[in-house]
């Protein structure tokens, strides 16, 4: 059952809270659109509208709606009126609210969360058109501290606040500005999307933000987390097409009784990651968290794509304002990679992977454009804003990651057949800008550069960047030679990276063994790529310098395991320079065996699996998608 409580409060007893003229109108309009004229989505018997109620009346209605609605209850609240933040808590001000006694004379959002938690409400949507409504974030953060209030029970919460925590929410012509924008989306006057029969609050929030984008006085805040799938807030009047969306995912929440407890069990960890992601998004943590959640699902469950889609959908708006445009790229990459184990003979999963790959391509294109603009505006913009010396290690990795994702963009574009000339031009310009400004930072530092190097060089010809690829190959080859083939293992800690750089400066003899990648996949990549670029003579000219260096190519038994932290089933093709391999040509037998092994897994012929495997390599860069060179 889905219940809406709509509260509009125009009248206030306190002199400190001025009377409003549009709050009741807003609540009526919202109730009419969602309940009275909204078809069957909301329960007409239990949904309630209140106009300028007292606190006692409002609390009575809210608690009755939440606790008396029975099991499997979804709850939506719309509030228009005054609101304020006090001592880190957010309060909805009602008719008889006394601003000096908010805790007893207003509705505290923390209390509301506690009621929802106790009643085990599954899906909660909250829309607040009131001043400082973005301040509601304080309450959620406080609520999430285990031990203080308890574990947050609702794995599906979406909140749309009309203004930021320090902003006023305005009314024009008897209507809240934000509510007017929301109503435009709900009525179909503004198209939110046309692919699914329902709308969720997150996508409505994105459209409202766009509609109010030019408003400097009021910026709506929208966020939420839905682990059960895409939540429902309203019907979508602009939906065209069949009842079943193209991907095949069910519209709405995953209601399976054997899945719900598992999702609830992981909800707190996901919430914690969600909240920390507004500062810094860690794609590997995200991938690991999804993997641990999905592994707990019963074998027969079909919830995996629903959960992954829901998580990607709710994390994306959070990263939209990040100053790292590649956070969104890695979010989508990690989401696609997480689906690998569920992709076998599963059209829904493959469709979802393809759909996400399209979004990933767009994110790579827009991220590339932003990075290009940044370099053109300030040539040192790829340097960290926190510390400089660390970039002696991390800048070469950062540059290769950019080049790698640029190559991945081309790969996806080729597969999906959705390439635009404009996007190709951005890729070309970005690579050129990097070569113009950061040539000396194209340095072989770590084995974690292997994936990026392989993906970029394999796509260079397709991007008309063969000359640039040769130059990049030469720079990496030269630095690999200068440091005697000693590069660091993938994923060193920051303190080990410092030790590595310090030792490298003193001479490679002082680099501790534990920090060096042994065997290295980077040398294998240099040798195989040199043949592809017809530059094997370059490697042959220096290969003696790498005498005794062990190198490797890892190929999994099945690419469905390729996103695992440790891939148990697979084969390491290991060789040593000066022991059967004296020149690039000597690697051909090993490379041939590796290719045969790759071909032994038929799943790698599926384009969506290829894209997912490449994404997995970017998120966990201790593996290389060798199939891309085949």
């Amino acid at each position: 059952m889905r219940v809406l409580v709509a509260i509009g409060c125009d009248l206030y007893d306190s002199d400190e809270l001025s009377a409003l003229g549009g709050a009741e109108n807003d609540a009526v309009a919202m109730f009419d659109l969602l309940v009275s004229n909204g078809g069957e989505l909301y329960d007409k018997t239990h949904s309630v509208i209140l106009s300028s109620p007292t606190v006692a009346e409002a609390k009575e209605v809210l608690t009755r709606a939440i606790f008396d609605a029975g099991d499997e209850m979804d709850f939506s609240l719309f509030f228009a009126g005054h609101g304020c933040v006090k001592d880190g808590a957010y309060f909805l001000c009602i008719k008889d609210t006394n601003v000096d006694r908010l805790s007893v004379s207003a509705i505290c959002i923390s209390d509301l969360f506690m009621w929802l938690n106790e009643a085990k409400v599954r899906d909660t949507n909250i829309v607040i058109d009131a001043c400082q409504s973005g301040g509601i974030a304080h309450d959620v953060t406080a609520f999430l501290k285990p031990g203080e209030i308890g574990h947050f029970g609702s794995p599906s919460v979406s909140i749309l606040a009309a203004s930021a925590g320090d902003q006023a929410a305005r009314e024009i012509n008897g209507q809240g500005v934000a509510t007017a924008a929301i109503l435009k989306c709900l009525s179909g006057e503004v198209i939110v999307q046309k692919d699914r029969p329902s709308l969720n609050l997150i996508e409505i929030g994105s459209s409202v933000s766009e509609l109010m984008g030019s408003d400097n006085q009021q910026s709506p805040v929208c966020w939420g987390l839905n682990l059960f799938g895409r939540s429902l807030f309203s019907n979508n009047p602009r939906f065209v097409g069949s009842k079943t969306p193209a991907i095949g995912l069910p519209d709405g929440l995953c209601r399976s009784a054997n899945v719900e407890p598992i999702i609830r069990e992981h909800a707190l960890k996901v919430w914690e990651l969600y909240l920390s992601s507004s500062r810094y998004f860690d794609s590997r943590k995200f991938l690991n968290l999804i993997q641990s959640l999905l592994k707990d699902l019963p074998p027969e469950s079909t919830a995996a794509p629903v959960i992954v889609d829901a998580l990607a959908t709710t994390f994306r708006p959070l990263l939209a304002d990040s100053n790292d445009p590649f956070e969104e790229v890695e979010l989508l990459g990690a989401s696609i990679a997480s689906l690998l184990p569920y992709s076998k003979d599963n059209d829904v999963v493959i469709n979802l992977m393809n759909s996400m790959a399209e979004q990933l391509l767009q994110a790579i294109c827009s991220g590339s454009q932003l990075v290009l603009d940044a370099i053109e505006e300030e040539k040192f913009s790829l340097l960290s804003d926190r510390t400089l010396l660390a970039d002696l290690y991390y800048l070469p990795i950062r540059i290769l990651k950019i080049l790698g994702w640029v190559g991945a963009g081309q790969y996806i574009s080729n597969i999906l057949g959705s390439g635009h000339k404009k996007d190709l031009l951005v890729r070309q310009k970005l690579v050129q800008a990097i070569l113009d400004n950061y040539q000396c930072s194209i340095v072989a530092v770590s084995d974690e550069q292997t994936c990026s190097f392989v993906v970029f060089t394999s796509m260079a010809e397709s991007m008309n960047l063969s000359d640039e690829a040769e130059l990049i190959f030469g720079l990496l080859c030269n630095t690999f030679y200068n440091f005697n083939g000693k590069i660091s293992s993938a994923d060193l800690s920051g303190s080990d990276a410092y030790k590595f750089i310090k030792a490298r400066a003193e001479g490679d003899g002082s680099i501790p063994d534990g920090l060096i990648s042994k065997p290295t996949e980077f040398l294998s990549a240099l040798m195989i790529v040199s043949e592809k670029l017809d530059l094997s003579d370059v490697v042959d000219g220096i290969i003696e310098h790498f005498d005794y260096t062990s190198a490797n190519l890892f190929v999994p038994d099945s690419y469905s395991d390729f996103a695992e932290i440790n891939i148990e089933n697979g084969l390491n093709f290991t060789f040593r320079i000066g022991d059967g391999v004296w020149c690039v040509k000597d690697l051909s037998d090993t490379w041939k065996s590796a290719r045969t092994k790759i071909a032994g897994d038929p799943s790698i012929d599926i384009p969506a699996i290829q894209i997912a495997a490449i994404c997995a390599s970017f998120i966990n860069p201790d593996r290389t998608p060798w199939f891309i060179l085949d």
Binding site: N323, D324, P325, L388, Y394, I397, G494, A497
Partner: protein
């Protein structure tokens, strides 16, 4: 250690920020810097005489030699700043790590030594332990006068600790030449003073030790 980019529009686009790893790198750099700085300061003040405090910025000490008078001290902040050109990082100049570390250590040590001499100078002026060369430069007689004014110490192992001479390279060279030019009589005179001063130091130490209660040993 700071090297944050200034003069750039904030917030700016930074792909792959790797924030936590950069912080770890920075922490390792700072720890390394602190260790090296400590090694340098230990060449001036032994670890036995170095105290570390968790609270407060001031201290008050009373010693047996201070006749009950309190010695007050206060912590001083030593800092050093270094500017790293962005281009050096973009050029992947690995030697910049040790170069900037050395510049910072040298800057910090300069401030440390300046405070160190100030403390010695203040203490000497207070006790009258000042030998004035009257603008005539270093003379061997001044050296004897200095020795006579100094009280030797005894370390925890009961060994007499000899005084140190801190001088710039030019003065050190002059002292060495002046003292070497003196004859055996001068050498004998100095040795006698050292012997006497050492005996006095050991006597003082014995006297100090005798003040502990000797329960069950008398």
């Amino acid at each position: 250690m700071g090297g944050a980019i200034k003069n750039m529009k904030e917030p700016r686009v930074i792909p792959f920020r790797l924030s936590s790893k950069l912080s770890e790198f920075d922490r390792a750099f700072n720890e390394d810097l602190a260790t090296k700085l400590q090694e340098q300061t230990r060449t001036i003040i032994s670890g036995e005489n170095a105290l570390g405090y968790s609270h407060g910025k001031k201290w008050r000490t009373r010693t047996a030699n201070s006749d009950g008078e309190a010695n007050d001290g206060e912590m001083k902040t030593h800092s050093s700043e270094v500017a790293i050109p962005f281009q050096e990082i973009v050029d992947n100049d690995l030697h910049s790590v040790s170069r900037y570390q050395n510049i910072m250590i040298s800057g910090m040590m300069q401030e440390f030594m300046s405070s160190f001499y100030q403390v010695i100078s203040d203490a000497s002026a207070k006790t009258g332990n000042v030998v004035d060369g009257k603008g005539e430069g270093f003379k061997a007689e001044l050296f004897v006068e200095v020795l006579e004014k100094i009280e030797f110490g005894v370390d925890q192992e009961g060994k007499v600790s000899m005084p140190q001479i801190h001088a710039g390279p030019e003065l050190a060279d002059k002292i060495f030449r002046e003292l070497s030019a003196q004859g055996p009589e001068f050498e004998e005179k100095v040795q006698k003073i050292i012997k006497r001063k050492s005996e006095e130091a050991l006597e003082r130490e014995e006297d100090r030790k005798s003040k502990f209660p000797k329960l069950g040993r008398e």
